[in-house]
């Protein structure tokens, strides 16, 4: 691409001619003529500018659209999912049943949690009022100091067994 000569550039500036990518002289004059003769040409709704629409501009279209077309019509792209009427209805039935089943499960889980929480609360209340010590036991049990520091004894990190065997392996054992 050859830059404009300073004289041409200043002239273009005076006459308010937009400096284009490839300002070869004949196309420039063509552009002036067309812009002066038809100032407002009715254009359809398009994102392509008028200059890039011209044949010699070398414009290859919107890249995004090109890519969408490429991947949509690629032979490896699976075909769209199309169902017949009854098949769609069957699909819908299964979908609804699955949703219903999941909703029921969620609801049951929530109710179970609620039940557990309430029974715990009832037990605490019983401890507070029914133990006959003025709620001392309850208050003691509600003290939370060290609950995050003094955790479970380390032995509980392992599955508790009767104890480690005195001899490591019973070599005498045979299957009957």
């Amino acid at each position: 691409m050859r830059p404009l000569s300073p004289v041409l550039a200043s002239l273009a500036n005076v006459f308010r001619i937009p400096i284009t990518r490839a300002p070869v002289r004949p196309t420039l004059t063509n552009e002036i003529l067309s812009s002066t003769s038809t100032p407002t040409s009715p254009r359809s709704f398009s994102t392509t500018s008028a200059l890039s629409k011209r044949k010699e501009s070398g414009y290859r279209g919107d890249r995004r659209i090109l890519l969408i077309r490429y991947f949509l019509h690629h032979p490896l792209t699976p075909r769209p999912l199309r169902f017949s009427r009854t098949r769609f209805l069957r699909h819908w039935t299964i979908h609804r049943a699955w949703n219903l089943y999941q909703a029921n499960q969620r609801r049951a889980h929530e109710l179970e949690l609620q039940r557990q929480w309430q029974s715990m609360q009832a037990a605490c209340e019983e401890l507070r009022t029914g133990a006959g010590d003025g709620g001392k036991l309850f208050r003691k049990s509600m003290i939370k100091t060290g609950v995050f520091r003094d955790l479970v004894p380390i032995e509980y990190a392992r599955l508790q067994t009767e104890g480690p065997a005195r001899e490591g392996w019973n070599f005498e054992w045979k299957r009957d």
Partner: protein, 420 residues
């Protein structure tokens, strides 16, 4: 004929094999024991067997061109493609809910169990309502408490009725085919949902953008679907209507989405009659009818067919727009009468005799009406308006309205000494 039969043969053979294998294993249970459609179909089949096929061809099964032509001559179009009909000829006609697909059948079991549970809920709730109604008001905790409790329980009952049927694929299919029985709550619910998805939005947008809502009535929340027809052509809300077309009264299709019957008042009002003296616009009532019964199943209202001695207060006046006047908005309102009680027709007729400046707001306040539906069309000067004006004896038919020339303000005037 031969081609398509040959083409669909292998497919059908394999289908039939699976059917014969799968069918005895199926339990033949019907979800809805109280429906008689299955029985009717069996009877029809038995009937068809007695007559040979070429004598009375079935439009759903006919494949040979001769028989098709004969049917067409009788005025019955064959259903579907010829290939489809050929396939259906050999297919064992299994009803939809017994199709032998395992996942589908398992899903149906889940849905059927849910429906059973919902039906139990419904009976329990209706019993509960009956019990509460039997309790005297003082024990129930006062008038207001009992009323609100009953109302909440009835709403819950309606909701349960919808929940019982919403998962039924056959209900969905019937509704999509437009064969839904709108006397049942589930179909009304589906129709309402469909209306609210698109058509109601359009209507509300038109009546608010064209400012019908603050101009004609202060507020309107449409709950009935209203369609307007002039000479069998449906008019979309806000469309321009030719003056010749609107000389006859329109037909309405008012779809109510609740059970029961309602008495409504129908008013068509023009809110843009130019008034030159006061440099503004007046109202004009083009139609007024009271005590029009509508329900979910009886939806058609022909404004010209309503009885003149018990319903129509002001008969249809064709809308015309003078040349040069801006377009006229003719808004139609469906106004619900309070408690669906009939208005006293003679009193209304005696009172509302003047068309000019009869405001819908006045009507609303005077008769305790509530707007439940709206529609809108527009009229402007066109080539047929003049004839219509002469027909109805419109005064000043050959007058054109012109805008007055507004003198520009002094500082906006072109001033040659400073204009450069």
């Amino acid at each position: 004929m031969a081609h398509c039969e040959r083409a669909s043969k292998p497919l059908l053979q394999c289908l039939q094999k699976t059917y014969t294998k799968a069918l005895p294993g199926l339990q033949l249970q019907s979800t809805r024991a109280f429906q008689s459609t299955a029985l009717a179909r069996e009877e029809a089949q038995a009937e068809a067997k007695s007559v040979p096929f070429h004598k009375a061809p079935d439009p759903a099964l006919v494949t040979s061109p001769q028989l098709e032509r004969r049917l067409l001559r009788q005025g019955i179009a064959p259903i579907g493609s010829r290939r489809r009909r050929a396939a259906l000829q050999n297919a064992s006609n299994i009803p939809f809910e017994q199709l032998p697909y395992q996942c589908f059948q398992e899903a149906r079991k889940v849905l059927v169990a849910d429906r059973e549970e919902k039906l139990r809920d419904i009976t329990a709730m209706s019993e509960k309502i009956a019990r509460l109604q039997a309790v005297p008001t003082e024990e129930a905790g006062g008038e207001q408490v009992k009323k609100s409790k009953l109302r909440a329980m009835e709403l819950h009952l309606e909701h349960l009725k919808i929940l019982a049927d919403i998962n039924d694929p056959l209900v969905k299919k019937k509704f999509e085919d437009g064969q839904g029985d709108l006397s049942k709550p589930i179909y009304r619910y589906l129709a309402d949902r469909k209306w609210r998805e698109y058509r109601r939005k359009i209507l509300v947008q038109r009546i608010t953008q064209m400012k019908v809502i603050p101009d004609v009535l202060p507020h309107c929340d449409p709950t009935v679907d209203t369609k307007l027809y002039f000479n069998r052509n449906q008019i979309q809300p806000g469309e321009f209507v030719n003056a010749q077309v609107s000389t006859t009264a329109p037909k309405l299709d008012v779809q109510l989405f609740e059970g029961g019957e309602k008495l409504v008042t129908i008013a068509v009002v023009d809110s843009d009659v130019p008034n030159v003296e006061k440099d503004g616009f007046d109202f004009k009532m083009h139609y007024l009818a009271v005590n029009v019964p509508i329900s979910a199943t009886a939806t058609k209202v022909d404004l010209s067919q309503l009885s003149t001695d018990s319903q129509v207060v002001l008969p249809w006046l064709p809308p015309v727009a003078q040349k040069g006047s801006p377009y006229h908005r003719l808004s139609l309102f469906i106004l619900e009468q309070k408690d669906s009680k009939p208005l006293d027709f003679a009193a209304v007729k005696a009172k509302e005799t003047e068309r000019d400046n009869l405001l819908p707001r006045t009507l609303q306040a005077r008769y305790h009406l509530k707007a439940i539906g709206a529609h809108l069309f527009r009229s402007q000067w066109d080539e047929t308006t003049y004839e219509v004006m002469k027909q109805i004896g419109f005064p000043e038919a050959d007058m054109e309205l012109r805008r007055k020339r507004v003198e520009p303000l002094p500082y906006k005037r072109r001033n040659p000494s400073t204009f450069r």
